[in-house]
């Protein structure tokens, strides 16, 4: 009998659609990071001042920090369920390029977590006094930033699968690596607000994103193999 | 420079000496910790050997 091999693209789409369907059934889990995002950004005015002109100075930074933290919150459980029920082992054994399957999973996670954060950012930013002129730069920088963070977080999640209190460890591992994203992203928003061109930091964000996109799956599959093969 | 100037460090004494002192402390701690790490592993290995030999005899 001739062996049939599923084309990689079909396998990738399957993984993506599976995760989206599973998330649809647990809608509350998807909204939690979003609520966290709003709560954290509310904390800053309460902790400092209600004066919008003062908040505007650090507004871009606050939105970025809140987005990073909210994304990280959701990332810890990325691979947990699949490792526990043996799905990941099947992927490793399947003969499909593991990196692509994991990237599909990360992509689904980003659509469910990162993308809503990006869309919400103008609303949250308005609460911090950010003018409409920066909305575009804010969303674009967060688009690239949350995408990169999903990949970095995917590597971290793959390394820490099954570790007790893994979410704190995951944050400890991923946040230092995400500092450049924060620097360039928040700075781009501030530059746009000051009337300078934010193209420089945006290009750097894009470069980092593509670097993560190319090397990330490699690191993720190495990490998953290490976590699963023991 | 004479001994008085040496300790005085042009007015920066507290900073220079605390920096050098802290460096000495950290290096000493690492010296102690490295030796202890090796020594503990050695005694643990020796103990395991003795237990194994006792079981055989």
């Amino acid at each position: 009998m001739k062996a049939v091999r599923t084309p990689t693209l079909a396998a990738v789409q399957l993984v993506f659609r599976r995760d989206m369907t599973l998330a649809w059934r647990r809608w509350d889990e998807v909204t939690q990071p979003l609520i966290f995002y709003v709560v954290v950004t509310t904390m800053f005015p309460l902790a400092t001042t209600p004066d919008l002109s003062a908040l505007r100075e650090i507004g871009g930074g606050v939105v970025w920090v809140a987005a990073l933290l909210a994304s990280l919150l959701a990332l810890e459980a990325l691979f947990r369920a699949d490792v526990e029920d043996g799905t990941t082992e099947q992927w490793v054994l399947s003969g499909q390029p593991l990196g692509y399957l994991l990237l599909a999973k990360v992509a689904a996670h980003w659509v469910l977590t990162g993308l809503p954060l990006v869309i919400m950012s103008p609303i949250v930013g308005t609460g911090l006094g950010l003018p409409t002129s920066v909305w575009g730069v804010l969303m674009l920088s967060l688009l690239l930033g949350t995408g990169t963070l999903s990949i970095l977080g995917g590597i971290g999640a793959a390394l820490t699968v099954g570790v007790r209190r893994g979410s704190v460890l995951l944050s400890l591992l991923v946040l230092p690596l995400a500092m450049p994203l924060l620097i360039f992203g928040a700075r781009a928003v501030a530059m746009q607000m000051d009337g300078d061109s934010p193209v420089g930091p945006l290009q750097l964000l894009a470069a980092i994103f593509f670097l993560a996109l190319s090397l990330g799956p490699l690191a993720m599959s190495a990490a998953i193999r290490i976590s699963v093969e023991n | 420079m004479d001994l008085k100037d040496f300790f005085h460090m042009g007015g920066y004494a507290q900073y220079v000496w605390s920096a050098y002192g802290l460096s000495a402390l950290v290096l000493l701690w690492n010296w102690w910790a490295a030796r202890r790490s090796e020594a503990e592993a050695l005694t643990a290995a020796k103990r395991r050997n003795e237990l194994a030999r006792e079981r055989v005899t």
Partner: protein
């Protein structure tokens, strides 16, 4: 030629050689560090801007240098262990981590102490100190990840992946922090950054760096021997040795 390399990767061999080398590293490093300290504190001329305060350079810069050097050594060792599956390389990476973290902490502390008389504050977000702080986080994350696994093999390999991801990130972090600080350049930074350096001032610096390097050699030899003993618990060579 490769037999020499393979022999080195064998634990009993490495254990023996490290034991022979360590005292040489240790005494040499002690001599050089003391020499550099005396030279830097007493013999080198004072800086015309910072006076005797600049002498902190002789413990700050070597620490900062070592913190980065050790991280690279750690990442290379971890990479070798991961790719060629050499346990000794993983053990070497594990041995490096606490030493590198100590140097990083020291660079931060001495940098902060140096900053107080020069800038008037105990901390300033300049490029070097901020980069050192992020490097400390990378070390701590590495050690935390190692500690979170009971299985030594998983600990070795997972932390190796982390170290490699970290080392790729280090240049990105350096560049981003550098860029971030140039946007708001405080005037006094230049005073801190470049004391007017003459050759007579550089000699104790190089001696101290050499001393610190040998110190690292000694410390990693000792720790690596401990790691070997811990990992080779059931090996025959260990049973027969003592």
């Amino acid at each position: 030629m490769w037999t020499w390399f393979h022999k080195l990767a064998s634990p009993p061999h490495a254990y023996r050689i490290l034991g022979l080398l360590a005292p040489w590293f240790g005494w040499a490093s002690l001599a050089l560090i003391l020499l550099a300290a005396w030279w830097g504190l007493a013999k080198a001329p004072a800086d015309y801007q910072q006076g005797d305060g600049f002498r902190i350079l002789y413990v700050h810069a070597p620490s900062a240098w070592m913190s980065m050097f050790v991280y690279v050594v750690m990442a290379v060792a971890a990479g070798v262990g991961l790719v060629w599956r050499i346990k000794l390389a993983h053990a070497a990476a594990a041995a490096c981590a606490p030493i590198g973290a100590s140097f990083t902490f020291l660079a931060l502390a001495t940098g902060s102490i140096w900053g107080k008389p020069m800038w008037g504050t105990w901390w300033v977000w300049d490029a070097r100190l901020t980069s050192e702080l992020l490097l400390l986080f990378l070390y701590l994350g590495y050690m935390a990840l190692r500690a979170s696994f009971d299985d030594p093999q998983r600990a070795d390999r997972a932390s190796a992946v982390l170290a490699l991801v970290g080392v790729i990130n280090v240049p990105i972090i350096h560049y981003s922090v550098d860029w971030w600080t140039t946007l708001h350049q405080p005037a006094s930074v230049t005073k801190f950054d470049k004391p007017s350096i003459q050759l007579a001032m550089l000699i104790p610096l190089f001696i101290m760096i050499a001393g610190y390097q040998l110190y690292f050699g000694w410390a990693v030899s000792r720790r690596l021997r401990g790691e070997i003993l811990r990992r080779e618990r059931n090996a025959n060579w260990l049973k027969e040795a003592s």
